[in-house]
């Protein structure tokens, strides 16, 4: 097992190098740092001195790949590629374009992101699995048909309507909870209820439908028939045999997104003004802060790859038939 994980982690390195090169190409070769400076300082009436100053403040005034002016190993290290791209591998994200320490910001903003993401995930899983089991139990009846229609209707609504509608209904009309905002410590709970509810509701449609198909797939198999044939109670068939087997695809689907929970939800966080990593990313995009976007791209890929490795491990844990080799 350990050897397998190490091998998988080693396999991830070339992919991360690929991601790194791609972001470097996107951010520094497609547009030179001069272009970025001009965009930030205003395209017209900008002096070359101002551009040089802007670049020097942010460390963009070095050559891209190879520094001819330097000597020895510095020829390779005193470059944008080394400073801005290679250092990402050490999780040294450097400073944002307005001079803040990105690693520190990320560490701080991770907690509010998780405070939304984890409850939404758990509550959502519980509700979706229950609904899906209910539909699978009543399969072929009107309950099932209307449930499937309802989930198609629910998944046809954009997440933004859920958010705006929920904010309006629960926050503004009924005044049950604050519309947006965040507070430290336990006070945060009252700000988190609404986003979690909306996060759960917006996911019900698609997940219920997907999980229902998992249940139905297992329900048609021989071991279920055997379980019924030997006279087991329907509840025992449902929970002991059906649920246990349908959980395999559900769990692996959840595990792959677990690490990405750190990144937070772009929409929920920005609509509810929660200082997590999702709103951090959106703010960076709107302020055109390239350093942060670059850091988040890299971080996101690392987390995604970790998720892929976790899935393989999870398979062996939940499904003894699968052996890693």
């Amino acid at each position: 097992m350990f050897a397998y994980i190490v091998r998988r982690a080693a396999y991830a390195i070339p992919i991360l190098i690929g991601v790194n090169l791609l972001t470097f190409y996107l951010f520094f070769v497609v547009n030179s740092p001069d272009d970025m400076a001009r965009l930030h300082l205003g395209v017209k009436r900008v002096t070359p001195e101002a551009i040089e100053k802007w670049k020097a403040e942010r460390g963009y005034n070095k050559p891209l790949m190879y520094n001819e002016a330097a000597a020895g190993i510095d020829r390779l290290t005193e470059t944008i590629f080394f400073e801005k791209s290679l250092k990402l591998f050490a999780f040294d994200f450097g400073h944002s374009d307005d001079g803040r320490d990105i690693s520190h910001d990320i560490g701080q903003r991770m907690i509010p992101s998780l405070a939304i993401a984890i409850p939404s995930l758990l509550v959502g899983l519980l509700i979706n699995i229950s609904f899906a089991m209910l539909l699978a139990f009543f399969r072929g009846t009107y309950v099932d048909v209307s449930g499937v229609i309802l989930s198609v209707v629910l998944m046809s609504v954009s997440a933004m309507f859920y958010i705006i509608g929920g904010q309006f209904l629960l926050g503004k009309l009924l005044r049950l909870m604050p519309i947006s905002g965040y507070d430290g410590g336990l006070d945060a709970i009252k700000f988190l209820v609404l986003p979690v509810i909306i996060g759960v509701i917006s996911g019900i449609g698609s997940s219920t439908r997907l999980y229902r198909s998992f249940f139905l797939e297992e329900a048609g198999k021989d071991f279920i028939r055997t379980a019924r044939a030997k006279g087991l109670k329907e509840s025992r068939v449902l929970f002991r045999h059906l649920l246990a087997n349908a959980m395999i695809p559900i769990i692996t689907g959840v595990v792959v997104i677990l690490p990405l929970l750190f990144m937070g939800s772009l929409l929920l966080e920005s609509f509810f003004a929660i200082p997590g990593l999702g709103s951090y990313t959106i703010d960076a995009i709107n302020r055109q802060d390239f350093a942060i976007v670059r850091a988040m791209v890299f971080l996101g890929s690392v987390l995604y790859i970790i998720g892929l490795i976790l899935v393989d491990v999870a398979y062996t844990v939940v499904d003894p038939r699968v052996r890693l080799s």
Partner: protein, 469 residues
């Protein structure tokens, strides 16, 4: 005099239409290609979805015929100049909707503005009141009393028109079917009304009638009132949401058109060739798919913004600028979404190349290119089709999210994303301005729901594993 304008996305849409028509003509004569499509139309949700999607597509296509009007000039011999504003066939069709702009917000069917204004009375002194709208309910003498009756009268006219048109359509369908099947008219009518026909004509007829009702209602009411109100700068919200249809469709279809060649070519190549080619292609798509989609799109669009800001001379009109951005958005969405299909196709061709008929073809010495085009490609097309149709609704939804994040379509472009984005602030106003959100919601929801129902029908018809059950 008009000058046709063909934007980049227009050209690609026409290309897509040409490809689809060519395929449809080809598939007409092949029973094995026709059968699954018949299955789609014969399913009740499928037939309903087809009607709705067709309505959207017609509006989208009309909105893709762009032109510029000639400016009037006094001396006859002079070279004609064209207005800088690019219009579309849809603009010509809805006519007054585009030009009838008020001062600022007004509610649906309102005759007065949404906000108070200070008005100078003729006898001196000032009052603060809600002024009359310039266009909404302009024909009414006494709007407070007459408006309701007028709206009811117009709705009644629309209903009467719908009934007439609906009966005419039913007559035509029955006549046509009776002629084709060599049956008596009354027998055919009974078959249709009792839902015994193979194609669910009753459902199609009902959907068409509802559609007709909506169109007649719009035709009767939208010319005299703002049926969905007006937005902050007084533009008709109904017009905006009609114009947004094209944006949604372009994102949903062009993305697919752009990604398909990549995904099909690379996926089949990887599965068929194996070895180092497979390794390289797998590495490429794993790398691309490991970057979270939104972030990759954000990074690329940011770079496009930088490029556009530094090269303003490349774009003649704002519409062209917005159009290029829309095209790039489709390309980038295509780059981020081809990986899933590519992976599926690779797996399928890995399986297929071991199949006996392909082994046989190889043993007979058939060329690789021939094997791929004759034996593998037709056998993976159902996967391609299912993925394409499934992706469509997701892409329409993604447009709204991306636009909100700031990396979607151009802010000057009509799109549901932009409408929702502005509605966010309007919902915080007191009293609430809700109609932009409602209009965007209704139109977007209908399209996505129809697309979802359609994709379910397509999957049921084309997925051989599902057909066995």
């Amino acid at each position: 005099m008009i000058m046709p304008v063909i934007l980049w996305t227009d050209a690609l849409i026409f290309l897509l239409v040409a490809i689809t028509t060519a395929f449809a003509l080809y598939a007409r004569r092949k029973p094995h290609l026709r059968a699954p499509w018949r299955h789609v139309v014969c399913s009740r949700p499928g037939s309903m979805a087809v009607v709705i999607l067709c309505a959207y597509i017609i509006i989208g296509l009309l909105d893709s015929l762009h032109y510029r009007l000639a400016l009037e000039s006094n001396d006859a011999g002079a070279e004609t100049h064209y207005a800088s504003e690019v219009l579309s066939a849809l603009d010509a069709l809805v006519g007054p909707l585009r030009t009838q702009t008020e001062k600022t917000y007004s509610a649906p069917f309102a005759t007065h503005l949404f906000t108070r204004e200070t008005i100078q009375q003729p006898e001196g002194g000032q009052t603060r009141e809600y002024p009359r709208l310039k266009y909404g309910g302009r024909h009414l003498q006494n709007p407070a009393v007459d408006a309701r009756a007028d709206i009811l009268r117009r709705s009644g006219v629309a209903l009467a028109q719908t009934l007439t048109a609906g009966l005419a359509v039913l007559l035509l369908i029955t006549l046509w079917q009776a002629h084709r099947r060599q049956q008596a008219f009354t027998t055919m009518l009974r078959t249709i009304l009792k839902r015994r026909s193979e194609v669910p004509w009753l459902i199609i007829w009902i959907s068409l009638s509802i559609l007709a009702l909506l169109i007649f209602l719009a035709a009767n009411l939208a010319t005299a009132y703002h049926v969905f109100g007006t937005d902050k700068v007084g533009e008709d919200v109904f017009y905006q949401t009609l114009k947004s249809i094209r944006t949604g469709l372009v994102i949903g279809t062009l993305t697919t058109l752009i990604m398909l060649p990549f995904a099909i070519f690379m996926g089949i190549l990887a599965g068929y060739a194996r070895g180092w080619i497979d390794d390289v292609i797998q590495y490429t798509y794993t790398t691309l798919s490991s970057i979270p989609g939104v972030l990759l799109i954000a990074a690329t669009i940011l770079m496009l913004q930088v490029y556009m800001a530094n090269h303003p001379e490349l774009f003649e009109t704002t519409l062209e600028r917005a159009d290029i951005r829309l095209l790039f958005l489709s390309i980038i969405l295509g780059i981020t979404s081809w990986t899933g299909l590519c992976r599926l196709l690779r797996g399928e061709s890995l399986k297929l190349r071991e199949a006996e008929y392909i082994q046989a073809a190889t043993a007979f010495g058939v060329r690789h290119s021939k094997i791929i085009s004759r034996h593998i490609l037709p056998n993976v097309m159902h996967i391609v089709l299912i993925t394409v149709v499934l992706d469509f609704s997701g892409l329409v939804l993604a447009e709204a999210v991306l636009t909100y994040v700031g990396v979607g379509v151009d802010p000057t472009m009509n799109s549901w994303g932009n409408m929702i984005n502005s509605a966010r602030l309007e919902m915080a106003r007191e009293p609430v301005v809700w109609w932009s959100l409602l209009a965007a919601f209704l139109f977007m929801f209908t399209l996505v729901l129809a697309a979802n129902l359609f994709s379910d029908a397509v999957r049921d018809a084309f997925d051989p594993r599902l057909r066995q059950h």
